[in-house]
Amino acid sequence: MLDTSKVFEAISISLHVSFVSTLFAFLLSIFFGYLIATKKFILKKYVVSVLGSLTSIPPVCAGLIVYLIISRSGPLGWMELLYTPSAMIIAQFIIIFPIMVTLIINYIEREYPQLRDELISYGASQKDILFLLITNQKGIYLTTLLIGFGRAVSEYGAAAIVGGSIDHVTRNMTAMIALETAKGNILIGVTLGAILISISLIISFGINFFKNDD
């Protein structure tokens, strides 16, 4: 029948990997988002465009890129990252970082000019402005986190390629759905699929809930 311990294991791996990748991507999104949105530099338009186009990078492409880098024959092969959860985290990071940073950049470009002008007239320092910018609208951060996490936890292809779908170690929900369905074990596939959809639903509700709170 249904092996629940297997299912829980897959869920736990998915959550662990996707939580970490989302957190990393989030922190770096704020850091780079602020820099890119507020500073003028020569290649600014190109950077923003490239980031925008990377938001729809196919997961398998992200997986392939990471694979080429961390495989033994690649430049970072010595780090022994292939077939580990860390590799999955990196691959998912590549998928979700572009969209998260783009969201942050858009938010800052929307909010920053007015905020900056008025705070400058008040005599605020750059630090004050930064502080208010970051702490003012918490809704955008929640939205960004949820969007990133949703993407990360439901992707198939990136984590599978670099993780190897190894039992107990890197076989996350999507990898298990693929494997069990191919085995003909439809029950597990459907169960995990339902759980994934539920997670997506919760995230979707979360995003809309916090959007209206602005």
Partner: protein
């Protein structure tokens, strides 16, 4: 403050990996995974020795390519010709016979090509080459695919060129699914079929032919080519499989009372 926190987070990401590995990486064919045998052997070996086995089931062709690049410590595939070449080229230390079963031909219950009555596999291939009957090929350089190709060659006809020959480019189980949907014929290892849970409208129509013998080999990747290989741990694994409790586990592995793999004695 934030910068140092991030720095340490990144470090913890990698810490678990930069010390000596206490696991071995096995590059394997998919039939050992689809049957659940690979997972079982990995778990039991780990229980017995404390050495973890990270088995990646990617298909024979990919497994061999990965092992050549050094992305694995042990190779378990079923394509003897390629296995011997692997050793000959210096990438493997030695090839051992691990276990065997056989290939079978699956097809729709009503067997439109009437291969059930055929006396040898080459006759079957000749019949199936006809555009009237669909045949699904793995087309992924797996052990099964290479077996299929060699059968077409032996039959003298080569690969069918018409649209009734369909290339799935995917693993055994997915390919069986496609054969099921299209009511087509397909070559598979017996193990995957026994373990397959969605048997629907296909059944074994041709089997027990000497030419359909399916031997699996196991090779440790050579530390001469790839110094990082976990040589000792890998050899322990091979020994455990060939002479230790692993051998018993393989022999006693059944699904619904049927044995999937046989060991050599």
């Amino acid at each position: 403050m934030i910068k140092t926190k991030i720095f340490f987070l990144i470090i913890t990401l990698f810490v678990s990996n930069t010390f000596a590995k206490d696991y071995i990486i096995v590059q394997s064919t998919t039939s050992t995974a689809n049957t659940g045998l690979l997972d079982l052997l990995s778990e039991e070996f780990s229980l017995d020795t404390g050495i973890d086995v990270r088995a990646v089931a990617v298909g024979t062709g990919t497994a061999i390519a990965n092992a050549r690049k050094g992305d694995g410590d042990v190779l378990i595939v079923h394509s003897k010709v390629d296995e011997l070449k692997f050793v000959q080229d210096g990438f493997g230390v030695e090839r051992y016979d691990l276990m065997y079963n056989d290939f079978v031909i699956l097809g729709p219950n009503n067997d439109p090509a009437k291969i059930k009555d055929k006396k040898n596999i080459l006759e079957v291939m000749i019949v199936l080459s006809s555009p009237d009957y669909k045949f699904i090929s793995r087309d992924d350089y797996s052990g099964t695919h290479k077996k299929e190709l060699s059968l077409w060659e032996e039959s003298g006809l080569g690969i069918p060129k018409d649209s009734s020959y369909i290339k799935s480019g995917s693993g055994m189980a997915s390919t069986i699914n496609i054969a099921n949907e299209m009511q087509a014929y397909v070559l598979t290892d017996r193990g995957t079929w026994i373990a397959f849970q969605n048997k629907n409208n296909l059944e074994i129509l041709y089997e027990n032919d000497k030419s359909l013998f399916n031997p699996y080999g196991i090779i440790v990747v050579s530390p001469k080519k790839h110094p990082h290989v976990e040589y000792e741990k890998s050899n322990k694994f091979v020994e455990w499989l060939l002479k230790g409790r692993g051998k018993n586990l393989i022999n006693n592995y059944t699904i619904e009372g049927q044995k999937l793999f046989f060991t050599y004695n």
